[in-house]
Each structure stands twice: as structure tokens, then as C-alpha cells.
């Protein structure tokens, strides 16, 4: 059995390398994007093999799903017939080799330092303090209690990315609209209507699960965001809808970060330490922060598709 597992792991690793090579160096953009999505699907499998289902969920939803759809949408807006740097000029060759050698050495150095990391890691210490965090799943405890500051910074970075994307908006080009599909089949709107309850149900389930098992705000937000992206791509109406609810959109986009900050500052008032909250409040606060963060993440992922602030 272990030989089988070893063979499977080697196959996964080889597949990852091959897909990464294809995604980077293939001539056609479309196959590069498809290879990129397949790469992230395999990456999710790798995380499953490494016993990290939380990361696998986020990787599959964000890497393969949302990023893939974003790249495909961007591809559809590019002029057809142009191809990526098919024939590198001669003076670029040394630079290319230099970059590849540098990347290779970086990878070797990373592998070496990962190999020399302390072995059991911090899992034991996290498990020992799990009772004091208010949740029973170690990953959620780390993300939203023990290292909540890191998570706050991640949310801030995503918000900054949305601001950046929106600042590149309409003034540079014509206002962008949802794609009209080449054929008017009823199947696509029907699919989005049919799947919509699932796009509400699954994030709620993931949020609830996050307190005691793999799940939580990031996968929930990613799934909800994917549902929203499907809506944006299949129907033109939600774009207008977003345009008419700008204030609500702004409030919800900032909700995760705002609630996080309120909780952190409230903890400072109550206990004297930034981000320290009393144990009896912890489960409620963590759940509230998770819900707000998931909503914010979903809207941020949708906002990347708007290419500019709605209503501007």
C-alpha cells in the first residue's frame, strides 16, 4: 500500500511540474490558462495528500475556480490571434537562463530550509491551547484567534487589491459589461438559477463546519464568490443591481476588516491586549468575524470581475 501511495505522490509531483511548465511555456494562451487551472486542481490534491484539507478547499475554490474564471474572462477580452512571446529574441536568452537558474536555486534553497524545519512543528502547542481559543478545530483557532493579526492583514491586502482593480476602471476604456454568450440557450440562466440555492447553502455549511472541522471563512467566501461570479457572467441584471446598491456594497466589502478591527480594539478595552478576547465571548465573536469575513471575501472576488467600480 505504501508503494502505491508513494507512486501516486510521485505521479502528482511529476504532473505538477509538467503542468507548470505547460502553463508557462505553451504558445497558445488558452491552453496556458487551462493548464494553469489543472495545475491548481492537482495542487489541491497535493494538499489533501499532505493532510491539509482546509488549504485544499481554498486552493481548489480560489486557484482553479475563481482565478481560472478570471483568466478565461480576461482571455475573452483580448484581441484574438495574438500569441505570447513565441520566439524570444537572442539578447533575451541569457536573461532567460539567468532567471531560470535563479528560480531553480531558490527552489533548492527553499526545499533545503523546509527539510531542516523543526519536525513536529507547532501542532502540539496549538492542540494544547485549543481549549482556550473558543473553537475546537485547530486551523480555525490559529486563523481567527492565535494568529488573528495575520488574517486581518490578509483581508486588508484583499481590500487593497479591490481598490487597486477599481482604480484601473472605466476611464481607461469603454464600460465593461457581462458577456453575451454566442447562442441564446436557456440552459445557462437555468443552471445559475438551479445552482443558486447551493451557492447559499454550501457557504453556510462551510461556515458552520469551520468551528469544528475543515471549513471556515475562506472556503465559504470563495464558494459564495464563485456563485456571484457565475451570476455576473450569465446575467446582466446583477451588474445594474450592484450599481444601485453602492453604499451596501462598500459597507459589505469592508465588513470583514471592520468587524475584525472592532473585535481587536474591544479586546484591548476589555483585557488590555490587542486581539485578546475573553473566553466566554470567543465562540460568538469568532463566528461573527467569520460570517463578516466570508461575505467580504465573496464580494471582493466578485469585485475583481467588475473591472472598475460600479456606478462610476
Amino acid at each position: 500500500m505504501s508503494v502505491l501511495a508513494w507512486g501516486f505522490d510521485m505521479l502528482l509531483a511529476a504532473g505538477l511540474l509538467w503542468l507548470a511548465w505547460q502553463a508557462l511555456f505553451t504558445q497558445r494562451r488558452f491552453s496556458a490558462v487551462v493548464n494553469f487551472m489543472a495545475f491548481y486542481l492537482l495542487m489541491a490534491l497535493v494538499w489533501v495528500r499532505l493532510d491539509a484539507p482546509d488549504i485544499a478547499l481554498a486552493e481548489a475554490a480560489i486557484g482553479a475556480g475563481v482565478t481560472g474564471a478570471l483568466l478565461l474572462t480576461a482571455l475573452g477580452r483580448l484581441p484574438a490571434g495574438t500569441s505570447v512571446g513565441a520566439d524570444p529574441r537572442r539578447w533575451q536568452r541569457p536573461l532567460q537562463h539567468l532567471a531560470m537558474a535563479g528560480a531553480g536555486m531558490g527552489v533548492i534553497w527553499l526545499a533545503w530550509s523546509a527539510y531542516h524545519l523543526p519536525r513536529p512543528g507547532l501542532a502540539g502547542e496549538v492542540t494544547a491551547t485549543l481549549d482556550a481559543t473558543g473553537v475546537s478545530h485547530a486551523v480555525t483557532a490559529v486563523l481567527l484567534n492565535l494568529r488573528a493579526f495575520d488574517t486581518l492583514l490578509e483581508i486588508v491586502i484583499m481590500l487593497a487589491a479591490v481598490v487597486l482593480v477599481w482604480s484601473l476602471g472605466p476611464p481607461l476604456g469603454p464600460p465593461l459589461r457581462a458577456f453575451a454568450p454566442a447562442t441564446a440557450l436557456p440552459g445557462l440562466p437555468a443552471l445559475s438559477h438551479l445552482l443558486h440555492p447551493f451557492f447559499v447553502l454550501v457557504p453556510v455549511y462551510l461556515l458552520w463546519r469551520g468551528t469544528h472541522a475543515p471549513g471556515g471563512a475562506f472556503p465559504a467566501g470563495a464558494v459564495m464568490g464563485a456563485g456571484g461570479v457565475l451570476l455576473l457572467l450569465t446575467e446582466a441584471r446583477p451588474w445594474e443591481y450592484l450599481r444601485h446598491h453602492r453604499l451596501l456594497l462598500h459597507v459589505l466589502l469592508a465588513a470583514g476588516m471592520a468587524l475584525f478591527l472592532v473585535v481587536a480594539l474591544g479586546g484591548m478595552l476589555l483585557t488590555g491586549t490587542f486581539f485578546a478576547f475573553p473566553l466566554f465571548l470567543a465562540p460568538t465573536l469568532i463566528m461573527a468575524v467569520e460570517i463578516a469575513t466570508a461575505l467580504s471575501i465573496a464580494l471582493m472576488l466578485m469585485a475583481f470581475y467588475l473591472y472598475g467600480e460600479p456606478g462610476q
Binding site: P181, A182, T183, L185, G187, L188, L191, L194, L195
Partner: protein, 115 residues
Amino acid sequence: MTEALHWLGYAFVAAGILFFLAGSLGLLRFPDVFTRLHALTKADNLGLGLICLGLALQASGPAEAVKYLLIWLLMLVASGIGATLIASTALACGLAPRQADRPPSTSTSQRPTEQ
């Protein structure tokens, strides 16, 4: 009883893998978009169904088994509609299905009117 269910599950998974292999072979060997879609959606969905059924038979409880079957149902809906969309878009973009008795042409297909 549980033992028998486990072996039945293995049998279903093995059959599902066979269908996946057939579907992948079709994807590689069939001549045009439409036949490739046919191979993928028919064979692979049946293969996925058999694998999900096999895993559901080995599941630890009914909740887990229902989740496996839900995965299959969602895949059926999504891939059915996705395949229809790909095929109709290909037709609208001028890719004609390959006919056995005449060479493939790109202009004979009727274009549906743009909305």
C-alpha cells in the same frame, strides 16, 4: 454484510475507472469537438456515478453517502449544461460536425441569428 458492501463498492469503483478510461480515450481519439464532448459527458459522468456509488457504499454513514450522490447529481447538471453550451457555441462559431461521407467543412453550418 458490511464486508460484502465494501467489496461491492470496490467493484463499482473499478467499473467507474473503466468508463473514465474509455472517456479519456474518446477525448484523445475522436475527430471533432462534438464527438469528444459526447465521449466526455456520457462516459465520464457514468464513470463518476459508479465511483460515487462505490464510495457511498463504503461510507461511514448515510450523511456521507448522500453527499457522494449529491456530488454526482451536481456534476450531471453542470456537465450536461456545459456540454450543450460548448457544442452550441462551437456550432455558432462555424465548426461543423464531421460527416462520414464528405470532408469536414467550416462554412456549411447554419449560423443561429445573433441576439
